[in-house]
Symmetry: C2
Subunit: 185 residues, 2 copies
Amino acid sequence: MGTRQRLIDTASELLADSGVEAVTLRGIAKAAGVSHGAPLRHFSGRAELLSAVATRGYAELLSRRDTLPGNSPRERLTAACHSYLDFALKNPAMFELMFRRDLVDAEDPALSAAASAVFDTFAVLVAAVPTPLARSGADLRLVAASLWAALHGLAQLWLWGGLAGASFAPSPESALAVTLDAYLG
Amino acid sequence: MGTRQRLIDTASELLADSGVEAVTLRGIAKAAGVSHGAPLRHFSGRAELLSAVATRGYAELLSRRDTLPGNSPRERLTAACHSYLDFALKNPAMFELMFRRDLVDAEDPALSAAASAVFDTFAVLVAAVPTPLARSGADLRLVAASLWAALHGLAQLWLWGGLAGASFAPSPESALAVTLDAYLG
DNA sequence: GAAGTTTGATAGACAGTGTCTACAAGGTGA
DNA sequence: TCACCTTGTAGACACTGTCTATCAAACTTC
C-alpha cells in the first residue's frame, strides 16, 4: 500500500479515536511510521491531507443514501434525515472536520464535489415529496437548503451540548421528529 | 481601566478584525501592550479569556431581544429569527467562537448562563406564537429547540459557504423565509 | 513608620505545531 | 555509467500555550 493512502487511513483512525485536536501532521506521521516531513511529499500541507479525510466523510454520507429503507418518497426522505443525524452523532469528529473551514481546503475539487453531491442527492429526495411548502409554490432547491440547514443545525447543536438544561434534556430524535413535522406537515 | 478588561476588549477587536485564527494569547497581549505572560495573571488560560469574549457575544445576542420590532408575538418571533441570522452573518468570527467547544471553556458559569439565557428567551418567544405545531400538541420547548436549530444551521451553512453551487446561490434571507413558512404555517 | 505579604507584570524556558530546506538513497531511462 | 526524479529523513525556523523564577509596587498589620 502506498504511503499516501496509509497517511489518509491513519489520519481517519486518529480522527475517530482521538478527535479533531489529535489530527496533527506530526502525529499522523508518527502513527503511520514515517518521519515528520514525509507527509509533505504527498500533500501540499495539512489542509490538503485533512481535505482528503473529509472527502471520505462526505463519500460515506453519500453512500448511505443508496440503502435507504422505505417505499414512499416521504419515507425515504425521513430515513435520509435520520441517517444524517445518526452519522453526525456517531462520528462527531469527522462531522466537525467536514465543516471546519480552517482545517480543510475549501477549494479542493474532490472535497467540494463530494459536498455538492451530498446536497444534490438530498435535493432530489426533497423534490420527490409533495410537502405543503412545495404545494405553496416555494423553490424546491430552497426548500431542500432550508431543510438541510435545519437538520445540520440539529446535529451541530446537539454535538455542541449546550442545549441540555437542568430540566430540559430532550433526545435529538424527538427534536428531529418536530422538525420533520414542520416541513412535511 | 484594568488590564483584565482591556485584554477582553483587545481580544474582541482582534476577533472582529482578523478572525478566530488571529485570537492568540500572545497576539492579544502584544495588541494590549503587555508582556506575553501577563494574560495568565488574569485568566487561567486561553480558554478562560476566550470564554469571556464569547460571553459578550451571547450578551449582545440577548440585548437584541429587547428592541424587537413588531406588534404581534408572531412578528416579534420572525424579527428575532432575522436578528439571529443577521448577527451571525455580520459577526462571523464571534459566531464561530461562540460555538467552538475547543476554544472556549464550556464549564464556565458565566458563559453557560449567557447561552442558556439566549435559548430561554427564544423559547418564551416561540411559546407565545400559536404555531400549527403547538396546536398539534408538540412540546413547546422542543419546538423552540427545533426552530433554533433550523436557524442556527442556516447561519452555519451560509458562513460555511458550501451551499453556493454554480446555478444556485440563494440569499440566506430567502432560505429563512422558507424555514419560517415551514414552522409558522 | 517598618516589616511582611499579596498582587501584577516581566522575561526566559519548554514542548509541541506546520512548514521549509538540505541531504541521502533508490529507481528509471538514455 | 550517468543524469534525473521520486521518496523519505533530519534539522531548523517561527509560531503557539503554558510554567517558572524574578522583581517591583501596593496593601496589611503591628
